[in-house]
Amino acid sequence: MKRPLLTVEHLTMRFGGLTAVDDVSFSAWDGEITAIIGPNGAGKTTVFNCLTGFYQPTVGRLALDHPTRGRFLLERLEAYRIGRDARVARTFQNIRLFPRMTVLENLLVAQHTNLMRASWYSVAGLLGLANYRHAEEAAIEKARHYMELANLVEVADWQAGNLPYGAQRRLEIIRAMCSDPALLCLDEPAAGLNPRESGQLNDLLLLLRQEKGIGVLLIEHDMSVVMRISDHVIVLDYGKKISDGTPEEVQNDPRVIAAYLGEEEVA
């Protein structure tokens, strides 16, 4: 069996007396969609915040084995280095775009690290040297490629804040993709979408997994999305992992049913 892309071991996060995540371990692989589900307040977003460096976990090891860049221990890195070096990208539950910038500009900001290097930390850019111009063309081409995948080319020059909600969700995902992630963490991408938009979102996610072969970690409430596209499901309840397996296995797990629907009275 191949080595997992992400290995989470004994992750625990305490806020004062509250244990939001309690000794959770799981793995995620390249080219697979791993869904984290659970009732509200189960600690799903906290796991994401630990993974992407916004929280410092109380206990636990979060190892990312990048296919080419080597191994990173995420709990020791600052948030921006997790994006820049370990190449973990994320989206947010309440969309965080750059609303007054255009769609294309949003996608270029995501390629900041590469472009910054190509512009020799702005010197080549200020002088208008050819190498920077080529790098910028390449970056725009890449942005256009993703806009085509997400069906956003037509609105490339719109301000991101003026897009319809579903398009904003898709933009946030391809913005994360533009930063060349090895692992893409999506926090409730289908929240607030109507059935048609959530269908478009499913197609986009399947396409990304298929074409780019990256690992996707997905928090989702919408079971139609989870059961259709995920390869592997992890269920959290009150900060603990209660189930782990394929969608079918999880669906039939009595502990999961109990967590979602309540326990049956035992006579």
Binding site: F54, Y80, M101, T102, S119, G125, E154, W158, Q159, N162
Partner: protein
């Protein structure tokens, strides 16, 4: 605009009289103690002098103004208010410039109606506001267009304005370049223009922190002071020429930017603003108290003027081994040469800032600044190191402030901590905010309005700050997001695609107008 609760038929005669009476009563109660008597220092000690003409004038103006407001609410009477308001505004303005008018017409005295300048000003502004409001109401009634049509029209106007902005910018640059040779130009005009361009440059410098990176810096004047003092001290103690000291002043200011940046960049919002405010004050207080180096409150005088690129001196008799400017170029001596030279110097420096800003905005660092302003958490998740990006903004912005400071020192020939008080920071910040954060043209217009207008209104003496305040309030009411709040994208896909493939922008995409 305030909400009106009146019935469409308008108030009855009785209600009107009651309201006018009430206004008169309140006016009397306020005017009699405040305006009617003035203490004057006379031979026999302090005397009370009655100023009944002022009181009567105020009360009449007050009642008429209130009448105007009442009539505004009455359908069908707006045109009367518009006419009356215009007349009042005209009288006020004519009174305000009575001396200029008298001089122009070659008569001894303009028959003024209002007793003092301040009252003329109030009359003019009050009348204008009433007339404009009446005009707006009239315009609204006449047009039967729907809100959507009106929005579309506003959008079209916005588009026109945006096109005009570039034309306007070119015209402004040409005007700035030819100003010293225009017929009306004289020493005073060039001096004021130099002052305005200095503030334009400071505004453009601060714009990088406030407009792009979105960090509210209330202590920008600190960098200005660092630049000014580093040139003054370098020239005085080391005898370094202006041209060598200029990059030095910029670098020193930039390092102060970094020193300030490191501790404060972890703060956000209000806390950040307060710390920068404190930093500005610390610099000023150090300048006052470090007597051995900065000469304390006495300031540094005799700061050398810049020479003409090391070729000629800008003084009558030359300095050292440099020949005087007029001899070097075979001209007749004129004291204006130096003034004009300084003017072109600051114009060139401001142009450098503008070119730099336009270019860096289209680079990754510029986009990262704007992204940071929009959402800094998203920036971190995309691998952008927020600290270095913010520090870069701070250092660059501070360097421009330092350049402007060195220029200030060499132009004035004398600097003291008094020139670097908080009010300077506030004025520069007001220029950036009023101009529409991020818009170079808007900032330049705001600088002309906020620095130029008080100069024009110098006749009003201390009341000119009232003009400054009134200007601020008017911009806040009519353009709450700054004079030019439109943000031009730094890159467009439409430029690289065959036309017609992209969807037209939605009306709201322009981001113009009040929210």
């Amino acid at each position: 605009m305030s909400v009106r609760h009146s019935a469409p038929a308008g108030p009855g005669r009785e209600a009107m009289l009651k309201e006018l009476g009430l206004t008169l009563l309140i006016g009397l109660a306020l005017c009699v103690p405040l305006v009617s008597y003035q203490t004057i220092d006379d031979v026999g000690g302090l005397q009370l002098q009655a100023r009944w003409p002022s009181t009567v004038f105020i009360l009449v103006a007050l009642v008429l103004g209130r009448l105007g407001i009442i009539l505004l609410r009455t359908p069908g009477k707006e045109s009367w208010v518009a006419i009356g308001g215009s007349i009042a505004a005209a009288i006020g303005m004519l009174d305000l410039f009575r001396d200029t008018l008298a001089a122009l017409l070659g008569i001894a005295e303009w028959p003024a109606i209002s007793p003092t300048y301040a009252l003329s000003f109030l009359l003019g502004v009050g009348g204008a506001v009433l007339a404009i409001r009446a005009g707006v109401r009239l315009g609204r009634q006449r047009s039967s267009v729907t809100a959507a049509q009106r929005d579309a029209r506003k959008e079209a106007i916005g588009e026109q304005v945006r096109k005009l902005v570039s034309v306007f910018a070119v015209a402004a640059v040409l005007f700035a370049l030819t100003l010293p040779f225009l017929p009306f130009s004289n020493r005073y005009v060039i001096d004021v223009a130099t002052l305005i361009v200095t503030y334009v440059m400071l505004g453009w410098g601060l714009n990088i922190i406030v407009g792009y990176a979105g960090l509210l810096d209330l202590g920008y004047v600190a960098f200005y002071a660092v630049g000014a003092y580093s040139y003054a001290l370098a020239a005085q103690h080391l005898g370094i020429s202006f041209w060598l000291a200029l990059p030095f002043a910029g670098l020193l200011a930039a390092s102060f930017g970094l020193i300030l940046g490191f501790p404060v960049l972890r703060l956000r919002g209000d806390y950040f603003a307060i710390v920068t405010l404190g930093f500005g004050e610390i610099i000023r207080i150090v300048l006052i108290n470090w007597y051995g180096v900065t000469n304390g409150p006495d300031g540094i005088s005799g700061i050398p003027r810049p020479d003409f690129f090391g070729l000629a001196a800008m003084s009558r008799n030359g300095s050292g081994d440099l020949p005087p400017f007029h001899e070097y170029f075979g001209l007749e001596y004129s004291s204006e040469h130096r003034i004009i030279f300084l003017y072109y110097l600051i114009v060139a420096m401001a142009a450098l800032v503008a070119i730099f800003t336009v270019r860096i905005r289209k680079l990754p660092i510029g986009r990262a600044w704007e992204a940071l302003r929009e959402d800094d958490i998203a920036c971190a998740s995309l691998g952008i190191n927020r600290t270095t990006v913010k520090l870069a903004a701070f250092a660059i912005s501070a360097a421009w402030g330092g350049f402007a400071g060195a220029f200030f020192a060499t132009r004035q020939g004398f600097i003291s901590p008094e020139s670097f008080t908080f009010i300077e920071s506030a004025i520069i910040l007001a220029i950036v905010v009023m101009g529409g954060m991020g818009s170079l043209v808007g900032i330049a217009i705001a600088a002309v309005l906020l620095i130029g207008l008080p100069e024009v209104f110098r006749d009003l003496a201390e009341y000119r700050m009232v003009a400054f305040g009134a200007g601020l309030v008017m911009i806040m009411i009519w353009r709450p997001r700054g004079l030019l709040s439109h943000r031009e994208p730094s890159v467009l896909l439409a430029d690289r695609m065959p036309p017609g493939r992209l969807a037209p922008k939605p009306a709201a995409a322009a981001g113009e107008g009040a929210e």
